[in-house]
């Protein structure tokens, strides 16, 4: 009897395997709509960008290792620190979190077989790749953006920056923004509509709540950046006057528009880290998250409140006290949802039975740096203090603790955590721990002295400094720290690279994880789940009887859904079964459309407006062909 049912299950899997087979070779990757393959492409592209941004960081630190260094010319220094900021924020962290982690994991965590709009998902990736190439083309041609990642006018105006350096920034960010907007729409619909039956919103993993919050924040924050960049390009290329005070414009309009985007952006960067933390902590402490509903609400609240605090980046521009005090108070309110989460993580670790393996170590490091960076952040909400240290190295210290220590540490921990899921092999635990401690210490040595340098008056963005300012020793220490930090990161890459070939093979669920991605094989098959699981708690893998039920349904061939790329749509709130969707398979049109967009932006940059128009027409025709092959009515 048992053998019959096993044979039956094998036959079902064969059928699914055939239905979901991908094209072979390079063409398979270019035309893929599989969220896992797209996630992997995002991962490696973002990793390359991380490398580029890291090299830029090391160049900066090498230049500042002592007074009067000449590794970089002043002009090159401007380009390098600007590209470092743009790369790390737009081309590394966001694509790595939403693109790679979100893409790969969210459908697996909610028990779906793909994203809601698989072709749009592919388009997001190709646009991201195009925008990365676009912005780095500027650097390759010696015209990289050079006015800092927030690109203040009038420095960034045509008068003071006559080359096309800034145009790579302006058009590049609009281009990049299309990718993030499409991706966030895709995540929201996926999370709302494709959850496994029974995964009502209150049973959704906190990881997904974090990504939902990020997607909404991106959706509403990006338009402000795109409009600001459009105004900038119109000013620079067609002689408009949005930011030109002499003709009724206002440079502060740029600052407002930029930071209306820029502050939510800070939370967009850090929220996925919160999500990864809430995925790793329960697994390694063997208990449920403390205050689950409050943490879910706090994640949403952080994203929401992030829209009301932007002027705290502008305390020195001379706004009336009433305005600045309002924004200082609003900034302090964010402490509440952040604190709820912080205490929840700590309480879960303390009251559980923590097993300090590499992934959890990264989360502990993250908590330490989030607290330190958060404390200096609270201090910066005090207006007089902010005015004192504005544009000094204190700010650099604050946001590198938050962005590197807090936002990137969970990404690195997440790489270790999900490595067995992606590859079916285990990384080396000892080297994993070593890489953590190296990076942890390197981070502290690199960024902590910056607080002191800031208080000593060292301004940010200077390409060198004279001896005898009392800055020399700390700068040298930071530069040494940067190399230690970098070697920690190299250890991670080596560990994972070698383990991919040599690591011991491990089972589907090596951690006894709590969410659904651990229920399927490692690496997961193209169809993710043989039968769509049913869920009755936020920790579906710990509900053994539910998973037994899945197995029995597979043996009976029940609810297999194998007449195409099929997945289940459920109702938004209660996740009751609604309909069976047929998802599109491979398509060449997403990369073609991205290529046309690249053409449009490249021609806008080169002032060939009619050729840009021609690319627009071609892109429109490509979109029409895209819809020639119908997918589910979605």
């Amino acid at each position: 009897m048992a053998t019959t049912s096993t044979r039956n299950a094998e036959a079902q899997l064969d059928l699914l395997e055939r239905v979901w087979a991908e094209r072979k070779g390079l063409l398979g990757w270019i035309t893929t709509t599989d969220h896992k393959r797209i996630g992997i492409m995002y991962f490696f592209t973002a990793l390359v960008m991380f490398g580029a941004g890291g090299v830029e960081a090391l160049l900066i630190r090498t230049q500042l290792i002592g007074p009067h260094q000449t590794v970089l010319s002043p002009q090159a220094y401007d380009e390098v620190f600007t590209m470092h900021g743009i790369t790390m924020i737009f081309l590394f962290v966001i694509p790595m979190t939403t693109g790679a982690f979100g893409n790969y994991l969210i459908p697996l965590m909610i028990g779906a077989r793909d994203m809601a709009f698989p072709r749009l998902n592919a388009l997001s990736y190709w646009i991201y790749l195009g925008s990365a190439i676009f912005m780095y083309a500027g650097l390759a041609g010696g015209h990289a953006p050079n006015a800092g990642w927030f690109d203040y006018v009038p420095l960034a105006s045509k008068t003071y920056d006559p080359g096309n350096n800034i145009d790579f920034y302006g058009w590049g960010l609009i281009f990049n923004g299309i990718s993030s907007t499409a991706a966030s729409i895709n995540f929201i619909v996926t999370i709302f509509k494709l959850r496994a039956p029974g995964m009502s919103l209150n049973r959704m993993p906190l990881f997904c709540f974090a990504f939902l919050a990020v997607s909404f924040a991106l959706l509403f924050a990006l338009p402000s950046l795109s409009v600001a960049a459009l105004f900038l390009e119109l000013d620079r290329n067609l002689g408009f006057h949005f930011y030109d005070a002499a003709h009724g414009g206002d440079p502060l309009l740029w600052q407002n528009l930029f930071w209306i985007f820029g502050h939510p952006e800070v939370y967009i960067i850090i929220l996925p880290a919160f999500g990864i933390a809430t995925a790793i902590i329960p697994t390694f402490t063997h208990r449920k998250m403390v205050l689950f509903p409050l943490v879910a609400l706090a994640e949403i609240l952080v994203a929401f409140l992030g829209f009301g605090v932007w002027v705290h980046h502008m305390f020195t521009v001379g706004y009336p006290t009433l305005v600045t005090v309002y924004f200082a108070a609003a900034s302090l309110i964010i402490v509440i949802p952040s604190g709820i989460q912080l205490f929840s993580w700590i309480a879960t670790i303390l009251t559980g039975t923590p097993e300090f393996k590499t992934p959890l170590l990264w989360i502990v490091g993250f908590i330490v740096y989030f607290m330190l960076g958060g404390l200096s952040g609270v201090a910066l909400a005090a207006i007089p203090f902010d005015q004192q240290v504005h544009d000094s190295y204190f700010i650099i210290a604050h946001f590198h603790f938050v962005i590197f220590g807090a936002a990137v540490f969970p990404i690195l921990g997440g790489m270790y955590f999900w490595f067995p899921k992606l590859t079916g092999r285990m990384y080396h635990e000892g080297i994993g721990k070593l890489s953590f401690w190296t990076t942890f210490i390197g981070t502290f040595v690199t960024f902590f002295p910056m607080h002191i340098l800031g208080l000593l008056g060292m301004p940010r963005r200077i390409y060198t400094y004279p001896a005898g300012m009392g800055w020399t020793f700390l700068n040298a220490l930071e530069s040494v720290g940067a190399y230690v930090l970098a070697s920690g990161l190299v250890l991670i890459v080596l560990n994972l690279f070698i383990s991919y070939f040599r690591g011991p093979v491990c089972e589907a669920d090596p951690w006894e994880g709590d969410t659904l991605e651990w229920s399927t094989s490692s690496p997961p098959p193209a169809y993710n789940f043989p039968v769509i699981p049913t869920v009755s708690s936020p920790y579906p893998m710990w509900d053994k009887e539910d998973r037994e039920l899945d197995k029995r349904r597979l043996e009976r061939g029940e609810g297999l859904m194998a007449t195409g790329h099929e997945t289940l749509a459920t109702t938004m709130q209660d996740a009751e079964v609604d309909e069976i969707l047929s998802m599109p398979s491979h398509s060449i049109w997403p990369p073609v459309c991205a290529l046309m967009l690249f053409g449009i932006f490249a021609m806008l940059l080169l002032h060939h407006y009619w050729i840009a128009f021609g690319f627009g027409v071609a892109g429109g025709l490509a979109l029409i062909s895209w819809h020639d092959k119908e997918a589910h009515a979605g």
Partner: protein
């Protein structure tokens, strides 16, 4: 838990939307759904982004106004009110045929869909033509390169007109596909999305025209 039960899935009572390639079957699927399909969600969220773009531009308009003593600046006449308001009023009336087209689509009535969308298309094209003439007329009075007023005035209007143009192109594509393919499940949702797109663009038209005319109101 009745909806959750995998038994409902096994019993074959869950609809397979992709197999609904005939109008009647697609209409049945649309009626049996218990929540909005993915496509509607996608369009709604896309429009959130577009609304935010207009919100940002309109905020910028008033921000710049607050910076300037004279708005519009000396030498530029305040905008004339009558024609833009009438044009916008006529455009907003297309909500009616768009609503009817959307409802006809859910009934599976292809000729009615084609008729209502075509009717709206004619009015929308006329609106765009009038707006382009007005735009050229304004460009003869003052230029976006003169002052920040001109910059935001023409950028806001051009962005709005671009959305009208996009809507017209969407009309044409949807009309063509529905005429050739019929109201399959895919194109049924597309007709509904087209209507939603135009509802939002019409409301944006009202806000944009009121912003544009605000110095004269």
């Amino acid at each position: 838990m009745s909806g959750v039960s995998p038994r409902r899935l096994a019993s074959g009572r869950v609809t397979r939307s992709a197999q609904a390639d005939r109008a009647a079957a697609a209409a049945l699927v649309a009626r049996q759904r218990r929540s909005a399909p993915n496509g509607i969600w996608g369009m709604a969220l896309f429009l959130c982004s577009e609304i935010t773009i207009f919100g940002t531009m309109i905020s910028s308009y008033f921000y710049l106004e607050s910076d300037n003593k004279h708005w519009p600046p000396a030498g530029i006449k305040p905008p004339s009110v009558t024609l833009p308001l009438i044009a916008t009023g006529v455009l907003v009336l297309t909500i009616v045929p768009m609503f009817l087209a959307s409802r006809a689509a859910r009934r599976g009535a292809r000729p009615a869909v084609l008729g209502f969308v075509s009717l709206a298309l004619v009015v929308q094209c006329a609106y765009l033509a009038v707006q382009i003439l007005l735009f050229r007329h304004d460009l003869n009075q003052f230029r976006p390169q003169d002052t920040a007023y001109g910059s935001i005035y023409f950028t806001l209007l051009a962005t709005h007109h671009a959305h009208v143009l996009l809507g017209i192109l969407l009309d044409v594509v949807v009309l063509a596909y529905v005429a050739i393919r019929g109201l399959t499940n895919y194109w049924l949702t597309a007709v509904r999305n087209l209507a939603i797109y135009w509802y939002v663009v019409n409301v944006i038209a009202i806000v944009v025209v009121l912003t544009q005319l605000s110095p004269s109101l």
